[in-house]
Subunit: 507 residues, 2 copies
């Protein structure tokens, strides 16, 4: 008989009452997915109205004394770590709801639902001024949010904490400072190497859309042969957990450069698998699914970088890649491998390489921090953005669509989210190190379905099954037996790219 | 300045509180749409749990004294017909919620959400036994519902009333008895005419899927050139109003017989237009959108039969129809017209002709009535169904997929819905008569976009704009200046098909 993970009667009673809140979250998640995939444009206003009402309804139901008193009763009980996780997360939400007025939450949700559609439009039309008033409002609301929730040192701390429990500006600065120098110096070594290429013919190869969709479907089916996941198309690729057995990922297609839909599919699959492999007994509870954005990103980047960009994985789908268009027939596995791992400063974060990626994030971190400090204005963002790209990456956007408008996050109201991308990527290298110690080197595993299944089983066993029971730092320690350490990232990048670019190693 | 339709302060206050209920309806509608279009199969259980919780939450919020007392206060006010409509519909829901226990509603919603997926599967696999236990449960729940809501004469009256305010078994029997004889006799005349054909070559012509989708998109774009509507694919075509500016219709494609996706698109468009042309001031209120299923069906059948099946409309898209496959090139407009209007007994209701259609409905009405009376058992339905098809239509299903499993409705829990299809079709002929008196004969209007716009404007002006402010019978009287009368249907059928089959008219 399966062991029951949640047994405390007070917690069971609490979870029973929680189910209606879960249901509202479930429908809101679906509504957000739909907003970005299929909703007719004219539906934006109504959708915003509805999501706003639902979020303040969630708040009202959460703050109902019958519910909050159950939290308070439960936390005095003798709880196991799953049960403790439930209380930890409910208390986080409680603090949020107790401090933010319902009108504020309604306004925030309404604004961001509409802004998502406006952003899509602004990006398509390369027109920042369409999005500017919405972003202005979102930044103001974010500052207000920080004030409502309260902070000791920096208003941005509040926003960082929302996405990653306990993360602060200080933490981020220490981390970014520790990687910035080594990354820029590695980038320079590569730029000065004989093998450095600013461009690669594959980036301009057009692909047949149907063949590309078939390739992505085949990969997804290989990675997950179950009827609990689907791919759709959106302006910005994402993965979202709708409910038990219902995980959605999106990608986007253009006419050329197959690496974008290819990598984004595998990236989003990493997020999806984390949610899908959460222990089924946690379904409908607050601790079902990924615990933290850093851990989440460690999973997506694991699949994107270590699996999708590996020579062995390319080999598995080599024939299908050749089928993307008649032009592909002259490319070898090695060509494709080199292209997927090409290092060169570029404009779009989601298409950037493993080294410059972190510079894209540093730019966003600095901008968000200064926006929160009111040191820069929204109207100046296109200029500030372009200046930073020139300074950090030596490239400059030709237009705002490939500049300030490239990411969906701010339109959602997600300010404080970006740093987790870099931190999660760094964490993925720690997990890779540990996994290889446990079950052998990745290249040996990526050769076939059995190896891929072993990888998935290891991830389930050590990380996924726990849902959100542990915090980021507890889970990291539990898995790796040490604290978060960016040295793994730097070692990984040095080792991989010294070989790829045939750079002699430093002594 | 636009005239305000809703001005009573008590009603305005009531509507403000209603908005959260509207939001829950909005998200539930989306969740139901998704259930039938994109949801991964494994998500069915979670979706059912959520929809069940949300429906009982709606009930709780509706029955909150702060809300119900506002209804009671408002109804004593001096109200205009929009405001009266709001109170009428809220009182209908109030009665429903006051009489049905929350556990019952939860069970009903959970059962029917799951059953929709099970039905899809059962239909695909031609396996009635998969669906049987769910249908058994749904019929039992429907009987229970009738008991809870109470009835004077027949338990089926309660279910009929749910879909069409005030409709009774008696009404249906009078109506069906009045049309059954004439329809069977007209059918026999046609079957005995020299021009009767049991089959038509077009029914076996395969079409190119992409060309068919293009044709449907082109038609939809011609009928409605706005970003407030979309087409997707589902097992059973339907139209659903998600929110302001967000209307979804579905169709299905097989490999041959273009008339199915063609006619179902135009049918569902008729439903969609009714919702979309409801006065914008009624958005977010209980009286936004179609007032009654009979009126709704009068709209969908209007477009399907009088527009889509007309020679003039075929002419507008003749070139695109020829493009459906190289085989089409030998068919003339007249061939296509004759095919779309071919009369012959067949198995599938949604694909049946204008005459036998009503016999399909009579079969369902009789079965539902007898199920409610417990005179027949769910397990015997395949046999009963097939017997009735043999008796009324002289055809018999080869399997249950084209028999008892063909319609989605029972899986939703929609028992009592079918009669509105026939009644609505009859009503459409009354509206056609009146419209032609007002703006001229349809053939002259269907020739171009301007004419189609005139038709849409007439429908908006006389029917759509009012949303649900009026009941079916009040609106019918207001539009046609007389009471519902099936003679228009019989006259229409006689006139049209006597010409088409060159039958000498009765004296």
């Amino acid at each position: 008989m399966e062991q029951k993970l949640i047994t405390n009667p007070a917690i069971i009673k609490l979870l029973d009452k929680y189910k209606v809140l879960w249901s509202l979250n479930h429908l809101s998640a679906l509504a957000h997915w739909d907003l970005q995939t299929y909703m007719p444009e004219e539906g934006a206003k109504g959708r915003g109205e509805s999501l706003a009402k639902i979020s303040s309804l969630s708040q009202t139901l959460f703050l109902d004394k019958n519910f909050t008193s159950l939290i308070k009763i439960s936390e005095k009980e003798n709880l196991n770590y799953y049960e403790k996780g439930i209380i930890r997360l409910l208390n986080k939400t409680l603090k949020y709801y107790q401090n933010l007025p319902p009108e504020f939450i309604e306004e925030f949700v309404k604004t961001t639902s509409e802004a998502t559609i406006v952003w899509q439009n602004a990006k398509e039309k390369d027109n920042f001024s369409l999005f500017e008033p919405f972003l202005e409002k979102i930044i103001n609301l974010s500052r207000k949010k920080a004030d409502y929730l309260g902070y000791k040192i920096h208003p941005y701390d509040v926003l960082l904490d929302e996405y990653e429990e306990g993360l602060t500006v200080k933490d981020c600065e220490i981390y970014f400072n520790s990687i910035k120098g080594p990354i820029i110096s590695l980038l320079n070594k590569i730029k000065n190497s004989a093998n450095y290429k600013k461009s690669h013919p594959l980036e301009n190869e057009p692909y047949n859309l149907e063949s590309m969709k078939n390739l992505n479907n085949k990969i997804l089916n290989f990675l997950r042969n179950k009827k609990d996941i689907r791919i759709d198309i959106s302006s910005h690729p994402f993965s979202t957990h709708i409910g038990p057995g219902d995980q959605r990922i999106t990608t986007r297609y253009s006419s050329k450069d197959f690496s974008r839909p290819y990598s984004s599919l595998i990236h989003e699959f990493g997020h999806a698998l984390y949610e899908l492999q959460s222990e089924g007994q946690l379904d409908y509870t607050p601790i079902s699914g990924g615990t933290s954005l850093i851990i989440h990103e460690s999973q997506s980047r694991f699949w994107e970088n270590f699996i999708g960009k590996s020579k062995d994985f390319i080999n598995l789908f080599y024939k299908d890649i050749l089928n993307l268009s008649p032009n592909f027939k002259n490319y070898t596995t090695q060509d494709i491998y080199e292209y997927l791992n090409i290092i060169r400063p570029s404009l779009i974060r989601t298409e950037s390489d493993e080294i410059t990626y972190h510079l894209h994030i540093i730019i966003r971190f600095e901008i968000e921090k200064e926006l929160m400090e009111d040191k820069i204005k929204v109207k100046d963002l296109p200029r500030v953005w372009n200046e930073k790209y020139r300074a950090y990456l030596g490239v400059e956007p030709k237009n705002n669509s490939e500049g300030i408008l490239q990411d969906v996050h701010w339109s959602y109201g997600s300010v404080g989210y970006f740093p987790t991308y870099s931190l999660g990527t760094a964490l993925s290298t720690m997990f890779k190190f540990k996994m290889e110690k446990d079950i052998g080197n990745l290249p040996n595993l990526i050769r076939n379905k059995e190896g891929i299944e072993k990888i998935q089983a290891w991830l389930k066993q050590t990380i996924h099954q726990y849902g959100s029971a542990y915090t980021f730092s507890d889970l990291t320690k539990q898995v790796t037996k040490e604290a978060f350490n960016p040295k793994y990232l730097l070692d990984y990048l040095e080792n991989k790219y010294n070989v790829l670019y045939q750079i002699s190693r430093k002594l």
